[in-house]
Structure formats: C-alpha cells, structure tokens
C-alpha cells in the first residue's frame, strides 16, 4: 500500500467495525449527504430558532399572566414541528431518484448488488431518520412546555407517533414522485396540496373523534400499507424489467381490498370509515398503475408461475406485468372493494342507500378504465400516466364547468346540461352524483351510463386485450416447455 493511502487510512479510511459498517450502504450514503446538506442544516437551525422564539413568547405570556393559554402554545409548537417533519424533510425526497438519474449515478448504483428495493428503502430510511432527528432535536422544548402546564404526555406521544408515521408516508410519496418526469412532479405537487388539506380536514374534524381505537388501528395499518405500496411503486420504476414488481404491488392492493372487506363485514363504524378513507387511495393507485403498465412477457417471469401448474397459470393472468393482466386484476379488485362499499352502505343505511353506493362504485370503476382505449391504441407513449391524468382532468373540468354554469334557481335534476351531459364521462358523472348527495334518479342513471361506458370500453379494447393475453399464454407455454420466447414493450406482439 502506498504511503498516501496508508496515511489516509489512519485518519479516516479504515475506522474498524464502526457502526455504519452494519448498515445498508445506501442508508449510510444518503444520511451522510442528507445531514450535511444545506437544506437539512437550515431546517434544523430554523426549527431551533422558531422554538426559541415560541418559548420566549410563552414565557413572556406566562409571566405577565396574559390570556394566550397553553393550548395556543401547544398547537403552535406542534404546527412548527409538523412543518419540518411532515413537509420540509420528507418532500426533499422528490428529487431523490431524479437527481441520481440526471448524473447517470443511478445506473452505476443499479449495477451493484443493491436491488431496486434496497436502493429505495435506503433512501427512504435516510429521510425518515432525518425527520426523527428533527423530532429528537426539539425534545428539550417538549420538556420546557411542561413548565407552562396543560401538557398531556400520552397525547404528546400520540402526536409524535402520528407525525413520524405521516412523515414516513409523505417521504414514500415524495420518492414515488421522484421517478416521474418534472411536469408530473409539478402537477402532482400542485394537486396534492388541496387533497392533503382536505384529508387533514377530514381527519381533524371526524377522524380522531369518531374513529375510536379500532379506527385508529385501521388508520395506522392503512398508512403503513400505503407507505409500502408507494415504496414498491418506486422500486418498480428503477428495477430491471425481469423483476416482476406487478406481483407485489397487486398482491398488496388485493390484501388491502380484502382487509377492507373484512372490516366492512365485522368492524365498527369508526374502523370502516378509517379503512375506507385510507384504503381507497392504495386501491386506486394499484388499479391505475395496473391498467397503465406496458406489456412485458418474459420467460423468466413466467417460470415462477408455471411451476404451480393450473393455479400458477391462473395467477399469472392476474399478476404478470402489463395492462391486459392489469385489467383483469382491476376487475377482481373492483369486485372486492365494491363489495366492501356495498356491505358498508347496507349495514349502516347511509344516505342514498345501496343504489347510491352501487352508482358511485360503478362510476369510479368505469372512471379508472375510461382512458384506456385511448392509451392502448396510441403507440409508444413514454409516460402513460400523463395522458391518463390529462383525460381524467378534462372529465373533471367538464363537471366543474357544468357546475359553474348551473343557473342558481334551477335544481340539479332539471339542469339538462348538468348531470345528464356528464353521464358519458364517468368521473364527471361521479361528481354529479356526489354534488346531488346521491339522489336516486341520478344514481340510477349513473349506474346505467357507467355500465354502458364500461361495455363500450370492453368492446374497444377487446381485440388488443385478446392479443395480449394470447401472447402471455404463449410465453407461459414457452416457460413450461423450456422454449425461448419473449415480448418486450413496443416490440413485436405488443399491442401498445
């Protein structure tokens, strides 16, 4: 060994069995880079400064006996921590994959022994660790708050747990977005705000009050599962095509759907509400992802299924990558989740009854499929999510336009350019249904119209779907007999 290296080694190169040696290299690298970054340092300093100011303010108020009570201080305290832990640190993950792609670094990492899943989990854990570090850094201020009174330790611990759980989910979502092109990230970033605020509003006004302990447990489980689903989605974006990530994503969604069904049958109202509220995004994400997947027929993937004979072949029709199997999977998922939806409405006699439940489930399912005929016959669209989102956005805008144009004195049911015009567009008709609060005549029309849309859609994609399924069958046969045979996205035999 040269002298230079030996000297460097003495200083820092070979620190022995240090702690990082036991961790995943990706976590070590991301943590090293993350905590040294300006963004983390400024967040850390900003949080400490804000805490100092808040404590000074609280002390002044307390000494002067003013009315701004402890509740105000506590709320402001957790809001400040929340901004750092729920937003600033996890949202840095939005550049985690894309920045590696820009520098070709992702390719170099992909060629190592680290699997796509390990790469993604390493990045995610590093972000979560930084969020946890922020929480630990404000602990002295948590203790200080006890001098002002009105502190509930259990409540504090619960808030910390929710903050960290939320941070985990937001970090996973940010990582998933980081695999998308810039336009999609900007669009999702803009669209996520109203959605997040609406969800927080629901959680704040109804969730903690009405969900009860079973509901909270369901919420934690759903949050954990959505985090896993998002991480799996991210991993699938950087994994080699030979890895079947559709299998994991779809099994996870199916598991969530079945759990929802079980809760709908046996759970109390709070648990069902929490489960429905949090499972729906996971299930929708999996369904949209499944119908947008490019067709890939690889013998190496098929081999894993054909070894289980007939059950394996049946499973392959649902769980191998590609929109054709994704379509079949989505139908199964829609049946499971629709049943949960219907049972919930039947058990608790919700407004509008089972007709409204069936109408919203039918419209939602038709909305998921609606853009598919357009995408199947457009060859080689690189990011299918963008045209898919655009079509859905147009449907939504049509609903908003009709709503805005509605004469104030006219009832919805008499407004011909309103809900009737929306019927061919499933997402818009769902909006009309919700706007009318599930009126039976609208619900009935939505069921019929969405059914017709679904039927037309089936006819439109049937030839391409059959071709894809036959191709999958051929590759399954090839895997069974050991013959070569495969089809790649955009290659011969690929429908889209």
């Amino acid at each position: 060994m040269s002298e230079g290296l030996a000297a460097a080694g003495k200083r820092q190169l070979w620190p022995g069995d240090d702690f990082p040696s036991w961790l995943s290299p990706m976590i070590v690298k991301e943590l090293r880079q993350g905590v040294q970054s300006g963004a983390f340092a400024w967040t850390f300093i900003g949080l400490q400064g804000a805490m100092f100011l808040l404590m000074s303010f609280a002390l002044t108020v307390s000494e002067r006996g003013m009315t701004a009570g402890p509740d105000f201080v506590h709320t402001l305290f957790w809001m400040i921590v929340g901004v750092g832990v729920l937003l600033v640190v996890p949202l840095r993950g939005m550049g985690a994959i894309s920045s590696e792609r820009i520098g070709n670094n992702l390719d170099l990492v992909r060629l190592t022994r680290l699997s796509a899943t390990r790469i993604v989990i390493g990045k995610w854990l590093a972000i979560v660790a930084q969020a946890a570090l922020l929480v630990v850094a404000v602990l002295p201020y948590v203790v200080l708050r006890y001098f002002f009174g009105g502190v509930n330790v259990i409540r504090d611990l619960e808030v910390v747990a929710w903050l960290l759980a939320g941070s985990m989910a937001v970090a996973a979502a940010a990582l998933a977005l980081s695999t998308q092109p810039l336009a999609a990230r900007i669009g999702a970033g803009a669209g996520a705000w109203p959605l997040a605020i609406a969800m927080l509003q629901v959680v704040n006004t109804r969730g903690f009050v009405t969900w009860g302990s079973a509901g909270r447990l369901a919420a934690v489980a759903a949050l954990a599962l959505s985090t896993v689903a998002l991480l799996e989605y991210t991993a699938s974006r950087i994994a080699p095509v030979a890895e079947n990530h559709a299998l994991r994503k779809r099994l996870l969604a199916l598991f969530v759907g079945i759990a929802w069904l079980c809760v709908a049958v046996w759970g109390d109202a709070g648990a069902i509400q929490a489960m429905a509220f949090l499972a729906l995004p996971i299930v929708l994400m999996a369904a949209i992802e499944a119908v947008l997947e490019r067709p890939v027929h690889l013998v190496s993937q098929a081999r894993a299924f054909v070894r289980y004979a007939l059950p394996g072949r049946c499973a392959a029709r649902l769980l191998t990558p590609g929109w054709a199997t994704g379509l079949l999977f989505t139908v199964v998922l829609a049946v499971v989740c629709g049943s949960a939806w219907w049972i919930t409405h039947a058990r608790f006699k919700s407004p509008g009854g089972w007709t409204a439940a069936l109408a919203s489930a039918t419209a939602l399912s038709a909305a998921v499929f609606f853009p598919l005929p357009f995408l199947v016959y457009i060859p080689r669209v690189r990011y299918r999510l963008l045209p898919y989102a655009l079509i859905q956005l147009l449907c939504f805008m049509a609903f908003v336009y009709a709503e805005a144009m509605k004469p104030p004195a006219l009832a919805w049911k008499n407004w011909p350019l309103g809900w009737r015009a929306m019927l061919p567009l499933p997402l818009a008709s769902l909006g009309s249904l919700l706007a009318s609060e599930g009126k039976p005549e609208i619900a009935g029309a939505v069921i019929v119209a969405s059914g017709i849309v679904a039927a037309v859609f089936c006819v439109a994609v049937l030839p391409a779907w059959l071709r894809e399924m036959r191709e999958g069958e051929r590759v399954l046969d090839a895997a069974r007999t050991g013959r070569p045979g495969r089809t790649l996205p955009g290659g011969p035999g690929a429908a889209a």
Binding site: S2, D107, P240
Partner: protein, 334 residues
Amino acid sequence: MTQAASQATAAVSSPGAPLVEVVGLNRVFDSVHAVRDLSFVIPRGAVVGFIGANGAGKTTTMRIMATLDEPTSGSVVVDGHDVIEDPRPVRRLVGWMPDAFGTYANMTVFEYLDFFARSYGFSRPERRARLEEVMDFADLVPLADRQMGKLSKGMAQRLCFGRMLIPDPAFLILDEPAAGLDPKARLEFKNLVRLLAARGKTLFISSHILSELGEMCDSLLFIDGGRLVFHGDAEALKHGTLPGVAAAATLVQVVVAGDPAPLVEWAETNRGWRVVEVKRDGARLDCEAGDAAALADGLRRMVAAGIAVVEFRREQRRLEEAFVDMVKGQGGGA
C-alpha cells in the same frame, strides 16, 4: 428470443464461445430508430473499439449490453446470459463507465469508492484490500480526501474508472472514456487499457475519435445511423483490403532537394502516377498500383531521372478517411 440467441444461451460459459453475442438488436425511441438490426460477437479477452458519429447509436447499444436499457427487439447474450431475461449474472460480469457521471455532494473520493465497494457486497477486510488495489491502479490515492465536486475532468474519469474496477469485472464497457481528456490524461488512460487487456479483460470501448482507438483495439466496430457498417481490424480498414470496400488510393510524400518542378514534371509524364498536391519542398503523389513493387519501381525511376529525392514515404491513411470512404462506398453518410 431468436433462434441464434437461444443457441448462444445454450453455449453458457463455454471457453471457446464468444463472451458477447448481439443478434438483430433494435431500439426505437418514440420516432427515432436508434439501433437497427445490429449483430456482432465479441471474443473473450478482446479489446474492441466501437466507433460512430454522435447519435449513431453507440451509447444505446452499450446501455443495452450493460442491462441498463431494453431493446425493442433482438437479444444480447453475455457469457450465456440474456441481458433481459437474466440481468443479475450479467451485472456481475459487467463494468460500466458512462460518458459522463454526476458527482455526489458532500462526498470525498474515498467515501465514493467505499460506498460502491459496500454496495458490491465486499466484507470489511475484502473491501480494504480491493480499494487499496483499485486506488493504486487508477492512481487515486492522492485524491482520497478530495471532495468529488472539486475534481478535474481527468481525475473524475480516473475515479469513474476506479469505481468500475471495484467488482473486478470480466467485461468492461467504456463509453467515450477519453472524451474531454488532455493529452497526458489520454496517454494515462491508454496505459490503463493496455494493463487491463494484459490481465485478460474483455474491453468494449466507444469513441467518435478513431485515432485513439485504432492503436489499442484488436478489432473495430463502426456504426452509422444505428447500423453496423464495418467489423474488422484497423489495418485492414486503413489499407482498404476489405471485401466490399473499394481499395484506397496510395499516397506518397516525396521531398526533394531544391525546386520540386522536375518531380511534378516526372509525375505528369509517367503513367500510373498523379500529382495530388505540390509543396514547397516536394509533392504528394498518387500511385495507382499502390503495391510495394510499384512504389519501389517509381522511386528507382525518379532517381534515374535525376530527381534529388531526400524523402520518399508512403502516407498512412487515417482511420477517419477510411471510415468516410467506407460509409460513402456503402451509400451512407458519415
């Protein structure tokens, strides 16, 4: 998978079989057909140059070979493993050096290499030995503590080279490795390539600068518009001795003592000789026959005619010229 590719797969790891077999490779990006029906083999231990203009499809082909991209059709088999169906064993064999790589913020050269050594699964003692070897080989020891962002282009290329060598890959794919390097760094790079070739590694090196590859490669692959236009050795290309490629003109550089006019007059009056360019101290002549005997005869006759020949030298045709001639001859455009 095509029949040829399946045959290649059947020959898994056979010592006589080529290390890499590319069959009917196509890659289409939206409306761009980047690679068209590309087929070639790379023998074990060979140093192969991959040459083409910018946008010819070199990087796309190399990325597919390194399992980083998927072909639209066709197959690439590395040591018996299909890059799409079975990428993991291929990744264990391949070392990939991209044409450009980004730096990691807040990371030293050593931390970078250590991260990759960990990622390749080296245990601590193995890692230490491997990093010492790689850093010595790529001359990275003096840079160990330097931040990655503060490296020059040449240093960054050495770092990328060192990183590539960490898992000791048998097949090295280098995309434009010498681009942007100064002459000294270029020379160092050539030496590194020679050392690796001497260790029995198979190297696949791309460049659009032909001269830098001609002297280090056993064979050359020329790609133009995504199609393979030549696969052979550099000497055959220079001398135009390839089937289907027109023989190149033989140019002779003649330097005379004094006025070049007698030399020009001699060339104009002798059959088989033509003046290409008149210079202050001589001329460039084109010898139609081009073989050694005709050249020797021409020199003898020049001297016999009283021309004071100081220097008589056959011009080595440059690879760039040979490439352009060949592409023109095949109806393409360089």
